[in-house]
Subunit: 285 residues, 2 copies
């Protein structure tokens, strides 16, 4: 019998997008310029094409212009860096999204670092990682930022709590842990080399699963009353958490889909409007 309350990312994301749309309209009215997100895609990977199209559609609905740059699969790192530097210098572009992963031949880190930190609305640069880590103003990685918004929405204050992040990727696990640490949680990072994952997860008041292994976290690993955030993405809309068994012990849990997923785009668009407001000198909007 399921007891946990659901953390409804779909409806929270909808509200954020509505608010973001209002801010975008206000900004456009006041400055004569609509916020603009540049989307950059290398190659034609079908999943990436779909993701970019979703983001463009959401932009349109929110009154954010999107400018798409489609580059051939054979684009070199140098060419990609040149494109990103040009967008970084272009006053008509306020935020930059570089869709990833990219082809093996591209130095992903060199590409990310060509994005000006002030336009890094996807939170992928060294500078954004560091500002997240040090609790300084800056853009957050969108999925971890969305996780924090969900916690806030459901009244979960991380301060003093034990948080366990399963996964340590540069755009998901690592920044999620740093954002929780900046909010005064006692944070543990677990990963593929962790010896007794179940024991570590059982210590957690807040679990963030962000590893991309279907149903890795089971109900028996969940401390009764814990908050369980499933940020995993696996084929077939399966999360990193075994929902049914975890929901029997958690107090709050995100569903998959409809939990963390929708928060990612909402955070991206919100940060695009933040960036535009700052660049257009209308920071109060």
């Amino acid at each position: 019998m399921s007891q946990a309350r659901l953390m409804d990312g779909t409806s929270l994301a909808r509200r954020i997008l509505e608010e973001t749309g209002k801010r975008a309209a206000g900004l456009t009215e006041r400055t004569g310029t609509a916020p603009c997100l540049a989307t950059v895609l290398v190659g034609e990977d079908p999943a990436s094409v779909t993701y970019v199209r979703m983001k463009q559609n959401r932009c349109r609905k929110a009154g954010i212009t999107s400018r798409h740059v489609a580059l051939p699969a054979a684009t070199t790192t140098e060419e990609l860096v040149g494109t990103l530097e040009a967008l970084s210098a272009d006053p008509g572009v306020h935020g930059i999204l570089l869709q990833h992963p990219m082809g093996e031949h591209i130095d992903e880190r060199a590409a990310f670092e060509a994005i000006a930190p002030g336009k890094d609305v996807d939170g992928v640069t060294f500078a954004s990682f560091a500002t997240m880590s040090f609790g300084l103003p800056g853009f957050v990685s969108c999925t971890p930022g969305g996780v924090m918004r969900l916690l806030d929405e459901y009244g979960v204050d991380p301060a003093g709590k034990r948080a366990v992040v399963v996964g340590r990727s540069a755009i998901l696990g690592k920044p999620a842990g740093m954002l929780l640490l900046a909010r005064d949680a006692t944070v543990t990072y677990c990963h593929s080399r962790t010896r007794d994952l179940s024991a570590a997860v059982r210590e957690a008041d807040i679990v963030v699963a962000a590893v991309g292994r279907p149903r890795l976290i089971r109900g028996q690993d969940v401390k009764p009353g814990a908050v369980v955030i499933d940020a995993g993405y696996n084929p077939g809309n399966i999360g990193d958490v075994d929902f049914d068994s975890a929901a029997e012990r958690a107090s709050l849990i995100t569903p998959v889909p409809g939990g963390v997923g929708p928060m990612t785009i909402a955070t991206l668009l919100e940060q695009t409007v933040d960036a535009a407001a700052r660049q257009l000198g209308a920071a109060g909007v």
Copy 2:
């Protein structure tokens, strides 16, 4: 009765400095240029003056030129940034050390970010923090880097072990945890808001105390056989660990002084020679 084996930072640092001196001499011979560390000090805080002088003395012994820039206490952030940008652009300077903490009126982060990442031999920039965090090539913060060298020297492989870092400062606790995570430890960050510090520390195979509270970690908090690293600095040469009681349970422990302390300067000088070798096109040295 003390049972733990001592981790002798003094002798390891001496060996690193000897090796660094040989590399500096080789580099000078091959390129006609000695490695050069710029030291920048704002004001005349006696402790800071002493630290800078120690670093200059060590440089001299190792065959590293040091160029000292003494700025008045009233220096503005803008002026300091200008100085650091000039040093960053100066081909005669290979590494930059900005002594900190600085006066309250200075934006420390703006100053750090004016240091070119390729000369950030003290590991204080956003870029260095991110490369440490992502396990990428780059300079490490000197004290956490020294901690990792001590672990290596004493055959402690962090992979799969539970490491607990007590403290989360930008130059000590946070990077120490990230370096341990990059070496596959399961890492927990504890701090002033951690609810049951003793319980968290008792889980640790490796404890890094880096918080600046005298004798915070006592023997009863140490898991039998754990490795205890005391990176705390408190007046009177007192560490963050209660040495006598901790040594009864630990397998390895750093003394204070003579443990982590000497490793910091050794790492700084080693990284200065690394930076010079790269900039002088003699990376093999």
